[in-house]
């Protein structure tokens, strides 16, 4: 019996030894941009001509739009095409992985397109070169003139597959286009793709326009305009161009913005000399007062679930950021740093609030958690404000003005973007000077 017991113990010990596995913890990696090869899309020989679209060049054009998108993220490093060793048609069928690995690529994008019967059919594949396998393969059909959108959608799919978060390439930015000298600026509403292409002007420039904002479906835009020196809030249908006056509001009116369900507009305006926050139901046109305070409350923005509102108030003496429930209860101050805070905007992810901060004569764009903790200033400049979130909550677009002479010379206003790490800051190219940007949600959801 004793012997049996000892044998059992010995077996148990041996079993344990046999299964003791070496484990190594890897808690750090690198944040270098991922090397990616974007092969030009192969144009099918059966493709037909379509209006003024250069079909033969379309494969190169689509791949270069994808490359530019990736480069702008700071997360990818598109490799030089001169180093590519396989032709696009062969690479799309079956890439020679070892050849692509030689040029240090970790991922490969291949594709082909066909234009037939006035339809553009594009298919693409994303390859994991380390694993020698396909990661995603999709095909799209659209009109050939829509090829840029196809490039953006492909970029979004690849971005999502490689980073785990939704993309933001198939989106638009609406902004106020500015031309002319500083003292006589002509301001028009303009809309463009997020990469600066396809700019369209939505107003003529005979009225002063301010703070355009998209609704959740990207179909409507609300903005402010001064008509005969009276502030009006407008609704504009982008597709049809039909404008509608939501209401005339007395005194100073600020920054109308849609609720997450698109049924209400939230804004601030002055009534009886006191500026408060109001909502307006777009169906019934009923206006509801949300804040009731003798201070100046402005710049309201809903949280993505619509349950909370962040806004700007000077009730503590200086402009600070506050949050409250959507019905105006449970008001909490969330910013406590030195300086003046303004233009708070709730992130689409719900975790952060972006803001403009003024301190010691400088303007900062920053983010903080929705409870006010973890404040981080991302960028500093002479004058910059009005941050607007990309739909995935990773980037902010804002505008920056330069210092001008007394006669207004040297003045410019440009759009810039920065990611929430603060490392990837870039100018967003626009045809004219630009201010008050607003980023749409994804067009293809």
């Amino acid at each position: 019996m004793k012997k049996l017991f000892y044998i059992f113990i010995v077996i148990l010990f041996k079993f344990n030894v046999a299964h003791s596995l070496i484990e190594v913890d890897i808690t750090r990696g690198n944040l270098d941009p991922l090397p990616i090869a974007v092969s030009p899309l192969h144009v099918d020989n059966q493709s037909e001509n379509y209006q003024d679209v250069k079909i033969k060049e379309l494969g190169d054009l689509i791949s270069s739009v994808i490359e530019k998108n990736f480069l702008s993220t700071g997360l990818f490093n598109p490799l030089n095409k001169d180093a590519f060793v396989q032709k696009p048609d062969i690479a799309h069928l079956k890439p020679r992985f070892e050849d692509w690995r030689l040029i240090t690529a970790q991922a490969l994008v291949t594709g082909k397109l066909l234009v037939k019967d006035d339809k553009l059919k594009v298919e693409f594949r994303l390859w994991d070169l380390a694993a020698s396998q396909e990661m995603v393969a999709l095909a799209f059909t659209t009109t050939p003139s829509n090829w840029r959108r196809v490039a953006h959608i492909i970029s979004d799919k690849i971005y999502e597959r490689l980073t785990g978060e939704t993309g933001y390439f198939d989106t638009r930015i609406i902004y106020v286009s500015e031309t002319g000298p500083k003292t006589q600026r002509v301001k028009k509403l303009a809309i463009m793709d997020q990469d600066g292409a396809n700019t369209k002007y939505l107003t003529l420039g005979n009225e002063l326009v301010l703070t355009p904002r998209f609704n959740p479906t990207n179909q409507l835009v609300t903005y402010m305009s001064y008509f005969r020196n009276l502030p009006r809030v407008y609704l504009l249908d982008i597709e049809t161009g039909i404008q509608e006056v939501v209401g005339n509001f007395p005194g100073m009116t600020f920054a109308p913005r849609f609720s997450p369900d698109g049924k209400k507009i939230i804004m601030s305006f002055a009534k009886d000399g006191n500026s408060d926050i109001y909502t307006m139901d777009l169906e019934t046109r009923l206006v509801e007062k949300i804040t009731e305070d003798s201070s100046i409350d402005t710049s309201p923005s809903f949280s993505p679930d619509g349950k909370y509102i962040c806004f700007n108030s000077d009730r503590s003496g200086l402009q600070q950021i506050y949050t409250m429930r959507a019905d105006g209860t449970n008001v909490k101050r969330v910013s406590f740093g030195s300086g003046i805070y303004g233009t708070p905007v709730w992130s689409p992810r719900g975790d952060l609030i972006a803001f403009t901060k003024m301190r010691a004569g400088k303007f900062y764009i920053g983010v903080m958690r929705s409870d006010g903790t973890g404040e981080r200033l991302l960028t500093e400049n002479y004058y910059q404000e009005a941050p607007s979130w990309s739909p995935n909550g990773r980037l902010l677009v804002f505008y920056r003005e330069t210092k001008s002479g007394k006669d207004g010379s040297g003045f410019t206003a440009k759009l810039w973007s920065i990611d929430i790490t603060g490392y990837n800051e870039r100018e967003v190219k626009t045809e004219t000077d630009a201010s008050d940007p607003s980023w749409s949600s994804l067009l293809s959801k």
């Binding site: 003791s20 596995l21 070496i22 484990e23 190594v24 913890d25 890897i26 808690t27 750090r28 990696g29 690198n30 944040l31 270098d32 991922l34 997360l75 970790q106 994991d128 380390a130 694993a131 990661m135 999502e160 597959r161 490689l162 980073t163 785990g164 978060e165 995935n392 990773r394």
Partner: protein, 269 residues
């Protein structure tokens, strides 16, 4: 009937008693070893013969000179030196005893003759083997402390220490190699478990013969898209890195290895 009931009861009682007596022995907790306490040997300088230090120095220098003159084999055991030490340090002379007496007046406590006396100077010049031992002990204790801290941070250090398949430097080399290859995806949530465990079967040259994501079920769960991306990035890192930096010996110990990827600390900064 009653008898059998009594038998049964007594038998059961005996069994219960036996169990109570034997079980605590079987499931007894392992002996809780007391922590290692370092003992530093400190010579009490105030009670040493400081006045004789200059003389001692002269003697030591003389001894040193003599030693230098001697041809000493490189392989000579250092312990022999230690034996020489007490004989070569002269005992205080009678004249010196007077000074010692004056000192005794100031300090009523008597110095016991068996306490080994040495001047501060001597302490610096002569290597005390006891102190070396103490230093080694301290080093052991420090490394033990480091291991204890690691245990708090990671999940597998305990297993590592027992596995003994890789030395710490070998493990560090492997870790550093994979750090360089792993591009961490940025769209990861901060407040969820991000541990990806990959089991590798390696060839002797460090290349991978088989890889397996241990939590692969989670990759396809709804709402866990980020986990799939994370797991794939980890697997990609391992593949890019191969051949892995593994020791040239002990293949049986490291032919199967588990890598635990967790970027939480890195993302939180």
């Amino acid at each position: 009937m009653t008898k059998s009931l009594i038998y049964s009861l007594s038998f059961h009682a005996a069994m219960i008693l036996l169990t109570v007596l034997s079980l605590p022995f079987m499931i007894r907790e392992p002996v809780d070893l007391p922590p290692i306490i370092s003992v530093e040997l400190i010579q009490i300088s105030s009670k040493t013969n400081i006045p004789y230090a200059p003389k001692a120095r002269k003697v030591i220098e003389k001894v040193k000179e003599e030693e230098e003159k001697r041809v000493v084999s490189e392989q000579a055991p250092p312990a022999a030196k230690a034996k020489e030490k007490p004989d070569r340090i002269p005992l205080p002379k009678k004249q010196d005893e007077k000074k010692e007496l004056i000192k005794k007046k100031q300090n009523p406590k008597e110095v016991k003759p068996e306490i080994r006396q040495a001047s501060e100077f001597e302490k610096k010049e002569i290597i005390d083997t006891n102190q070396i031992a103490a230093l080694i002990d301290k080093a052991k204790e420090e490394s033990a402390k480091v291991k204890k801290n690691d245990k708090k941070l990671t999940q597998s250090s305990t297993k590592n220490s027992f596995a003994k398949g890789l030395t710490l430097s070998e493990e560090d080399a492997l870790r550093a190699q994979i750090f360089g290859c792993w591009t961490v995806p940025l769209g990861l949530p901060y407040d969820v478990d991000l541990l990806v465990r990959i089991k590798l079967e390696l060839k002797q040259d460090g290349t991978i013969s088989r890889s397996e994501i241990l939590d692969h079920e989670r990759m396809n769960r709804p709402g866990q898209k980020f986990y799939k991306v994370l797991a794939e990035s980890a697997l990609r890192a391992v593949r890019i890195c191969q051949p892995l930096r593994v020791p040239q010996t002990g293949y049986d110990k490291w032919k199967t290895i588990q890598l635990n990827f967790n970027p939480t600390e890195m993302l939180k900064g």
